[in-house]
Symmetry: C2
Subunit: 87 residues, 2 copies
Amino acid sequence: MTFRASIDIMPLPALLDPQGKAVSSNMHNIGLASISNVRIGKHITLEVEAADQASAEAQVKEACEKLLANQIMEAFTFTMEAVETVA
Amino acid sequence: MTFRASIDIMPLPALLDPQGKAVSSNMHNIGLASISNVRIGKHITLEVEAADQASAEAQVKEACEKLLANQIMEAFTFTMEAVETVA
């Protein structure tokens, strides 16, 4: 079965997010002063072939830990759904 | 009221995503060969002060169009929820 995972990788809440701070400041300059607390991370989608959802989740978790996220600075969450296989 | 928006900005499906392709290749090298079709975009969270949800959504849409997303190469989607205000 094919599963599609949707992963969000965000800077940890305790850390400064300079890119987000810069965007927050710029919101004011373009007249959107009511927007604040901008934080910027990564959104990753991928497909994984696995026998069942538990196995697919284990693989996505491993991919996040080994390659996608830097766990010293980032936290990841993901959702997963089965994809209809085209016969 | 304060609303929290969660924005996903992804490269358009018609476009190549070199960063995603590179990660896909590397999945094989770390023993996760069943992962494919990796696409990498941005995930942005922000807070917006607005009278109601429609007004908050209009501001987030404007922020995406003016500052956050490059609509030639990227598409954005967002979800929004009201935040409990601390009295």
